[in-house]
């Protein structure tokens, strides 16, 4: 039962990701001139991880996965 739930959840997630990627692929990249970047320059539009120190560390030790935003891993004997 547990495996079935996990399999279903994973398939939903994978499908969502695939749809997002397909949407992006169809729209493509438009040429955005440098002077049209007012919204892109907003602080909330940073492509980097916006998580604070405490929260990032909490996630690192409470989840078995790592990566996706750079870095090698825990770097501590926390788990």
């Amino acid at each position: 039962m547990t495996k079935k739930i996990l399999r279903t959840l994973a398939s939903c997630v994978i499908t969502s990701v695939a749809m997002i990627v397909a949407l992006v692929a169809t729209t493509g990249c438009s040429t955005v001139a440098p002077y049209e970047r007012g919204k892109l320059a907003h602080p909330t539009m940073a492509a980097s991880d916006m998580t604070g120190f405490g929260e990032a560390h909490l996630r690192a030790i409470s989840e078995g996965a790592t990566g996706g935003s750079g870095g090698t891993g825990s770097g501590c004997g926390c788990n």
Partner: protein
């Protein structure tokens, strides 16, 4: 979940990402529309919001876009008008503003200010530039000099009707246009139209409107003259109200119009003195010269002992003030502090103008300081307290930055896993200093970082470097980084020289950010970490069960239940000595008018058989200029490692009574199957005159459900953080 299923999904995601790279090239096109949109955006957001330096930086992009013949002269003029507006109205730099306006008038002599963003300082600088312009009319006395009239933008088409009291349809047409210009605060246009109307029909009310628009447009000396004419003429035709009003305005202007006293130098022949390009009669030297408010440039040329000398000085003529200028002739070329001003006035190209501006601006440095206090408590009796301090310095013009941080992690834990081994609550403090920096080398940004983590029984040292490059006008930014970490795992109370396990990690992160449109970006990242070394915990003992008992041990069995059913032997955790970990993540961000949505998905697999998916979304809303709030949601689900069991079986040998243990065994519950849901939110408040200070609060509720574990089936945690930060320039 099969390994093949995740592998195929992984491959599809990577292939789709590569498909995005094959974008088509856009054809080159005139940039008039885009630059005009930029100007409007900069003035309405950055300039109106007080971010003047940001406004200048944005306008610089417009200059790049107008390279060559990419923009019309009209639009280039608008761009320079915008520069001048920011310099004069924002940064209060009169000389720079006047130079910008001069450049604008060179591009388009009919260029005008943006009515909505015109302030007295802006108007004064513009008037000053007008005075230097060949066709501009500048006054040096109460009586205006006769200058070439500006042409009104619209020309009378002929015909048309006019109301009673008027004699000329043409005059009425221009008068109507003048009132329209007055309503939209286009003062100089209003003046142009009233002048044209006066030429067709000389009416007192038209001249009163002329004087009103001249006054509003900063042409005080002209306005004073016209108000005086109206005062004299209105009474004669019975318009006493108009006459009285004109008298009052004229009186006010007499009081507030600035004056300049120019003292001639001793021993100078063939002296020629100009104010804003208009020659001043010799008789006026030494007396008060009435001038319009704003920047006035006094130049003089003369001969002393046969040598041709010159003089130049810019003054800011303010209302109610009288400025005195002593002409001191000097050799040609010795401009002193006026070097920058002449540089800008003499700039023939946009590059020349930019060089003048850059040579005047000193190095800029943006400092950012922040402190964060965070805490965590959960139902499994784990508490953490983590203060952190961050400092960074960024040089926008130099293209480099350095940053450093120091974090202290205080953890106390009495979790079920600890209690199960009959261990008491323990407390540990970890110290984490880190440092990093980056430097822009052309389109490439290179970075380095180093990190140290120290606790009584664990030491980790890491360092790494990376590079990113901006492609296609910064719409595609790939990046690659490498990090090496050397960890030393020990035992509390035992020196590393006696007991240590070395663990090495090599991490590679490849990412690419795509700007999809003006408001949307997509960032994809691929992380690979190779670990070598034994990461087993030296304190983690696992209960062992007889094979037939292990099969019947239920999930979530309590500590007492485990103790009743387990074997007497306690086995230390043993993990594989190497691990390969891969993660691919995608982040989509879109900015609305006053809010941003961020959605991220991460897929993870490793050689221990653990697979995971993490989905997170945030919706950040700018309530106003100072307040931002955001809810957030995160869902994480993972399978267990391939060697994970909630109850390990140990077989005993009948010959010698020894036990055979599973080669790989672990009690780390984060290696078992679980899912976690985090619901949270935060708020940020910016304060201070320039909104350079900010305080943020963030809170999360973290629920974890353990799907195949002993002792604990779920865990509820509370996380909170407060951050205080400041930006200094």
């Amino acid at each position: 979940m099969s390994r093949r299923f995740f592998a195929s999904s992984f491959s599809f995601a990577v292939l789709a990402l590569f498909a995005l790279v094959g974008v088509r090239d856009a054809r080159a096109a005139s940039n008039d529309k885009e630059v005009e949109a930029l100007i409007e955006s900069v003035l309405q957001s950055d300039y109106a919001g007080g971010n003047f330096k940001q406004a200048l930086e944005q306008l610089e992009f417009g200059k790049q876009a107008c390279e060559g013949s990419s923009c019309s002269a009209k639009v280039r003029a608008k761009l320079f008008i915008a520069f001048g507006t920011v310099f004069a109205g924002g940064l209060k730099k009169g000389p720079e503003a006047k130079a910008a306006f001069s450049a604008a008038l060179k591009e388009d002599p009919s260029a005008k200010l943006f009515p909505s963003f015109s302030t007295p300082e802006v108007q004064q600088a513009f008037n000053g530039a007008h005075g230097d312009a060949p066709a501009g009319a500048a006054a040096s006395s109460a009586k205006p000099d006769v200058a070439a009239p500006r042409k009104p933008k619209k020309t009378w088409p002929g015909g048309g009707r006019f109301p009673r009291g008027w004699r000329s349809a043409e005059a009425y047409f221009y008068y109507n246009e003048a009132t329209t210009s007055e309503a939209s605060r286009d003062w100089l246009d209003c003046v142009d139209y009233t002048q044209a109307s006066l030429q067709a029909e000389n009416r007192v009310t038209t001249r009163f409107l002329t004087a009103t628009c001249e006054e509003r447009g900063g042409l005080w000396t002209e306005a004073l003259a016209d108000f005086q004419i109206v005062t004299d003429a209105a009474g004669k035709i019975g318009l006493h109200d108009v006459g009285n009003l004109a008298r009052q305005r004229a009186q006010t202007l007499r009081e507030k119009t600035p004056k300049v006293v120019i003292r001639r130098p001793a021993k100078a022949d063939a002296l020629v003195v100009t104010i804003n390009g208009v020659e001043l009669a010799d008789a006026k030297l030494g007396g008060e010269v009435w001038v319009n408010p704003g920047q006035q440039t006094i130049r003089a040329q003369g001969k002393v002992n046969g040598a041709e000398l010159e003089f130049e000085q810019a003054i800011d003529a303010a209302e109610l003030e009288t400025a005195t200028v002593e002409i001191k002739l000097g050799p040609k070329g010795a401009r002193g502090d006026q070097a920058m001003m002449r540089c800008m006035l003499g700039a023939q190209t946009r590059d020349d103008f930019a060089k003048c501006l850059k040579s005047d601006s000193g190095p800029s440095l943006d400092l950012h300081l922040a402190t964060e206090l965070s805490g965590y408590h959960d139902s499994d009796h784990v508490d953490t307290f983590t203060p952190a301090f961050v400092a960074s310095a960024e040089s926008p013009t130099g293209g480099w930055g350095i940053n450093g941080s120091f974090l202290i992690d205080v953890v106390t834990a009495a979790s079920a896993d600890i209690i199960a081994t009959a261990s008491p609550r323990w407390r540990e403090t970890r110290y984490v200093p880190s440092i990093g920096g980056h430097k822009k080398l052309g389109d490439v940004d290179a970075s380095l970082k180093a990190n140290l983590s120290h606790e009584p029984d664990y030491l980790a040292i890491s360092f790494g470097g990376g590079a990113s490059i901006d492609l296609r006008q910064k719409t595609i930014t790939p990046a690659l980084s490498y990090e090496f970490s050397h960890d030393i795992s020990g035992r509390a109370g035992t020196p590393f020289s006696i007991y240590r396990r070395d663990i090495n990690r090599h991490g590679i992160n490849a990412s690419v950010t795509f700007v999809l449109d003006k408001s949307t970006f997509f960032a994809a990242a691929l992380t690979s970490v190779l670990e070598n070394g034994d990461t087993s915990k030296p304190y983690r003992y696992l209960p062992m069960f007889a094979p037939d008992v292990a099969k019947r041990v239920p999930i979530g069995l309590s500590i007492d239940g485990v103790n009743k059913n387990r074997l007497t032997i306690r086995a230390l955790e043993q993990l594989p000595t190497n691990r390969q970990r891969w993660a691919v993540a995608g982040l989509l961000g879109h900015r609305f008018t006053a809010s941003t949505i961020r959605v991220e998905e991460r897929l993870y697999v490793d050689s221990w058989g653990l697979k995971a998916s993490t989905t997170e979304s945030q919706f950040l809303v700018d309530m106003n200029e100072r307040v931002r709030v955001w809810p957030s949601l995160r869902f994480h689900v993972q399978s267990g490692a391939s060697f994970w069991q909630h109850a390990y079986a140990a077989t005993s040998s009948t010959k010698d009574g020894t036990f055979t243990l599973p080669a790989l065994r672990t009690g780390d519950r984060e290696l078992g199957p679980l899912y976690g849901l985090t619901i949270g939110g935060g708020a940020r408040y910016a304060f201070g005159e320039k909104k350079s200070w900010a305080i943020s609060v963030n809170a999360d509720i973290v629920y974890t459900r353990f799907l195949d574990h002993l002792f604990l089936l779920d865990r509820l945690g509370l996380f909170g953080a407060t951050t205080l930060e400041v930006d200094l320039e």
